[in-house]
Every structure is written in structure tokens, then in C-alpha cells.
Subunit: 128 residues, 6 copies
Amino acid sequence: MDNERYERGWEKLKRIHGSEGERFIENVKSVAPDLARFIVEFGFGDVYSRPGLDLKTREIVTVAALTALGHAQPQLKVHIQAALNVGCSNEEMVEIMTQLAVYAGFPAALNGICLVKQVLEDIEKKRT
Amino acid sequence: MDNERYERGWEKLKRIHGSEGERFIENVKSVAPDLARFIVEFGFGDVYSRPGLDLKTREIVTVAALTALGHAQPQLKVHIQAALNVGCSNEEMVEIMTQLAVYAGFPAALNGICLVKQVLEDIEKKRT
Amino acid sequence: MDNERYERGWEKLKRIHGSEGERFIENVKSVAPDLARFIVEFGFGDVYSRPGLDLKTREIVTVAALTALGHAQPQLKVHIQAALNVGCSNEEMVEIMTQLAVYAGFPAALNGICLVKQVLEDIEKKRT
Amino acid sequence: MDNERYERGWEKLKRIHGSEGERFIENVKSVAPDLARFIVEFGFGDVYSRPGLDLKTREIVTVAALTALGHAQPQLKVHIQAALNVGCSNEEMVEIMTQLAVYAGFPAALNGICLVKQVLEDIEKKRT
Amino acid sequence: MDNERYERGWEKLKRIHGSEGERFIENVKSVAPDLARFIVEFGFGDVYSRPGLDLKTREIVTVAALTALGHAQPQLKVHIQAALNVGCSNEEMVEIMTQLAVYAGFPAALNGICLVKQVLEDIEKKRT
Amino acid sequence: MDNERYERGWEKLKRIHGSEGERFIENVKSVAPDLARFIVEFGFGDVYSRPGLDLKTREIVTVAALTALGHAQPQLKVHIQAALNVGCSNEEMVEIMTQLAVYAGFPAALNGICLVKQVLEDIEKKRT
């Protein structure tokens, strides 16, 4: 049955993070195979696979939390991309950072907006 | 024109936080009148009044940020109530906290869920 | 098989946190039954049940993290008690807080030491 | 010579925190005597006794840091009182919290302003 | 009247952050024009323009908060430079970081001191 | 006697951090000589030299705290290396990060595991 949790999680992870997510898990696996497995089984197989919130709202929650925490910039960049992957618009990402300026302070919001800019530029580059 | 920002903000604040929000602003005003004014003008008149995100999504962003920060439990309780006021369901609040366990850790999520429980019990008490 | 994870987790939780831990899970269950289940299955069934670190070291890691985070005082108190339950001495708890003053600052360490004092006084009260 | 550090620190602590500070150190001493000694020797004997910043500026630095960290409300209250003891005006304390709204977010600033209000009310009570 | 807030803010921003600050706002404007406007209007036009604290003290508050938060190193570097721009001495910046070691821990203070060193080296380079 | 504290601290620092630690202190000394001295005297001479916890446990406490704080990645890398220097195994470092996923969230744990990977690769490189 844990096999089922892993497979369900792996499908969800690919849907949200694409091939970049797969590479990240492979990277973690090389040093901490069980931690990599827990991300897939628990994070994606148990939590992201739940009904009750659509993927877009789950990514908004995650982006807001990571922006407020402030110390997880690599993950924040990945989740800004993921939020766009599952249906957020560029304008919504900018609004989320603007809203966060009130609650987490301008520096956290500005670090977030700089990552939004990087992600949008990366997308633009790939397109051309 | 700042008068306009204040009035727009005050209407928004009443819509989101109700009479409890009004009392809180009065309380801040007694020691820091301009900080109270900035909350209304900037927080509610400028930011919450923007299009681009509906009020429900703005409250989800706020609840996620405050849960992750962990140090603003009184405000988190107020914003859990506000999220319910503007259209979140009880089940969505529980899902948000479950999602946050992955990103902010179980203690932050559990502190959040305890406040959700308190807010739901307060609502139940008022009803009866 | 998840049943196995739950049962393994529940035994571990009782070993570490005693009846207070059981009551806490029941409390979470009343508002967020799946989050309660994830704590038992993932937190205690998957992570705490692993070999590689003994329970005493796991609790030292947890106490250090919660003291540094600073925003999870109820959980910190519970884990100071848990650390004593699984073999930490009073003197070791004091040393851990002293070490943390260097890395997390004196206020975080002093909030920790005040909780150590409360836990030791609670133990003393129960004894008499 | 450490005796000298302790005595210099103790005088400084009494100057900044008054009898409340002495009681707090006694309280810490009952469970962690060396941690209490390090606060006096290092915190007050080494750091607070340095030239280069006057006591008022040192307390402004401390109040700003504790407000931003957010997790040390008991210490923040004590240092708001200390800032007033060494020459800050009520108006300056309010301005500091207003400034912090921009950098640490409104919730941290509002938690700070609520403590300023409590300290000012405590002073008022003692006067009457 | 908001035009007035913007212009007052823009003058203040140039006074504090110089041409580097102007470039940063332009950068934010390219992705989030209203967030850039809020920084100028609210951050600099409303807050930094207030009487009650001189610019030097406002920058000390900001540097202390950012050092304690720890997650906003780019902004901390900019504000160390700003503090020097509005009258702080090199020695005062070092003292502030030393004071913060007590309250935010040595790692946060050492990250701060490394940025102080970088800023002083940048100034030295420009001079030669 | 402070000379004694310094020398005891310097020996301890060399034992824990090796020549990289010496270089770091020299670097801090160039801009903030007294802060560098306090690290040696207080951090290593007073705290790390205490009995009551062995060096391995002290480093586990430090690694857990820095991982949870999240904002001190350079120091975390140095202390992962230090933990290995004083007797932690690679497997224990991986287990500590796995345990922290529960309490500080997966992003903090994953940032930690990436640093563990870097440290292990650095060691591998030096060996060949």
C-alpha cells in the first residue's frame, strides 16, 4: 500500500513540478533516500493528493508560507513556477507578494517579487 | 484623497473583521494614532481594496503567512475568523493547516489547528 | 500496511509522550482527524521509529529546533518533558539551553530555561 | 578578573532593568546558575559596558531585534521598559514600532505596540 | 495628494539610498509597479518622512531588525550602506552587530558583520 | 584570567573547526576585533568548554538549531563539518535532517540535506 502512496505522490509531483521536480528528488535520494521517499509519499502522496483544496490554492498557501519564512528561497522559486504550472496567473503572483508586504514586511515581499521576476524571465527565455 | 483611502479602508476592514476589527483599531489608536491610520489607509485602503485577488484568496495568503511566521497568534486567530467571514469553509481552514505541516513543520500547523478549533468553538458559543 | 504505520507510531508516541500525548492527539482529531493521523503515521510511525538515532538524540534535536524557532512554546514544553522521559538528565537540558544561547540568542535560550524550570516543578508537584 | 566582569555587569543590569532585572536573574539562577552568570558577565559586563554606543541606542537596537524576531514577548516588554529607563521617550517607542511595520510586517509591529501600551499603563498604575 | 506622498517619498529614498535605491525601485516597477509605488509612498513618503526619529535612528532600527530576521541579506547590505549615508560611523555599525550577538545569536551577528565588511570594502574600492 | 578563557577557547575552536575556523576568526577580527574575541572567549572558552554535554551532542544541538533557524546557511555548513569532525557519522547527519523535517518543515530539512551533501562531496574531493 505504501507503494500506492509513492506512485500517487510521484504522479502528483510530476504534475506540479515537472522534470525539475524529478531531478530534485533524485538529487536528495543520492544522499538521503528515505527523506526523498517521505517527500513523495507523505508530501505529495498524502497531502497534495487530498481533496478539499485544489492544487492552485495549495500552491498559493505554499508560496505565502515560504515567502513569510524567508529562508527557503530555492524552494520558493520552485513553488512560484509550480503555482504558474497549476493555474496561477502572473498577476496573481504579484498580488500575493503585495498582500504579503503587509504581513511579513516589505523585505520578504521584495525577495519574493524578485523571484517572480526571475521565474517569468526564465519562462520567456525558454520560449525564445 | 487620503480621506478617500481611509474611508475605503475602513469599509473594507469592517467587511473583513467586523466590530472586533473596529475595536482593535480603536485600541491601537489610543497609543499610536498614526500607526492605526496606516493600517486602515495602507493595509485595507491600498492593499485589500485591490482587484486581482478576491478577499477569500487574500485571507488564505494571510493565514498561511501568519501560521508559518508562528509569532503572531492573536492576529492569526483574527484572520482565521476573517477567512471564514469572507467565504472559507471550516474544511478549507483544516486543509490549509494540513498543507502547512509540510512546509512550516508540524508545530506551526498544530498551533494553527488549535486556533481553528477555538474560532469554531467561539462561533458555536455565540450561536447558542 | 498503513494500519501498521499507525500502530507502530501510536506505540512510539505513548513511549515518548505518555498519556498527555494521547490526549493531545485526541484533541487534534476532534477538528482535523487526518492531520492527527499524519502525526502518528508519519511523525511517529515513519520518523521516530527509524534506527540511526536513539530516542534521546531525537528529542535533543527536537528541543534544540523548537527552542531556536521560538514560536512553539507549548510543543517545546512537551518535548522537554519527553526528553526527560527518554533518558535526558535535568543537567543535560540546562546545558542544551546554555549552548543555544550562543546560536539562537539569549532570549530564546531563556524562554527555554523557563520551560525547563516549569517542567521540573511539575514533576516535583506530581511526586508530592 | 571574571569577578570584575560580573560586578561591572551587575551594576549595568541594575541601571538598565532595575529590581525586576535582579529578580529575573535570581529566577534563572535557581535552575541554571551558569547561564545566569553568563548573562551578567557577557551580556552586561562585556557587551552593554562597551563604549561606542550609548545605552539608549543599545536598547533601541534590542527592542528592534526582539520586535522583529517576534518570539520573545516577555523580553520585549522588559526591554521597552528598559528603553524608557535609559532615556527613550514614549513617542520614540511608538515611532520605532511604526518604522518596524515596514520591515517586519504589521503583526510584529502591532504586537510591539500592544506591549508599549501595557508598559505605559503599568507605569501609570504605579504612579497612582 | 498621493502625488505629494510619492514625491516626498522619492526625495527621501534618494537621500537615504542614492542612485542604487532608484535602480532597485525601477527593477521592482518592471514586474510589480504598484508594489514599487507603495514602497515609495508608504515606506518613504509616510514612514521615513515622519518626525519623531531622525534618519540615523530609523536606519539603526532597520539594520537591527533585518539582522535579527536574518533572511533579508540583500536588503541588510543596502541598509548598512544607508546607515552610513545618513550619519552612522563604521564603529557604530560594528557595535550594533556586537549588541545583536546577545539577542539574535552569534550567527545572525556574524552574517551582519560580514556584510558590514563588504560595504566598507565597496566604499574603499570606489574611493580608489 | 580572560587570557585563560581566550586560550581555552582557541584550543577548543581549533579542535572543532580546524584551520577553517581559525581563518574565519581572523576574517572577523579584521573588522570587529572584540566580536571575534567574544566568540573565542564566550562561545568556545565558556560554553563549548563546559562539561555536561560532550562535543558531539553540542554540535548536534547547534546543527539542529541552525537548520531550524534557516537563515545561517554558511554557519550551518561549517557546523555540519564540525559535527563530523567530533564524531558524528554521515548517517547520523542524514537522520538529524530527517527528524527536523517534522519540526521545522521539509524546506528547512532539504536545505540542510543539500549542505550535508556538499560537505560530504568536499571531503571526498580532498581525499582524492
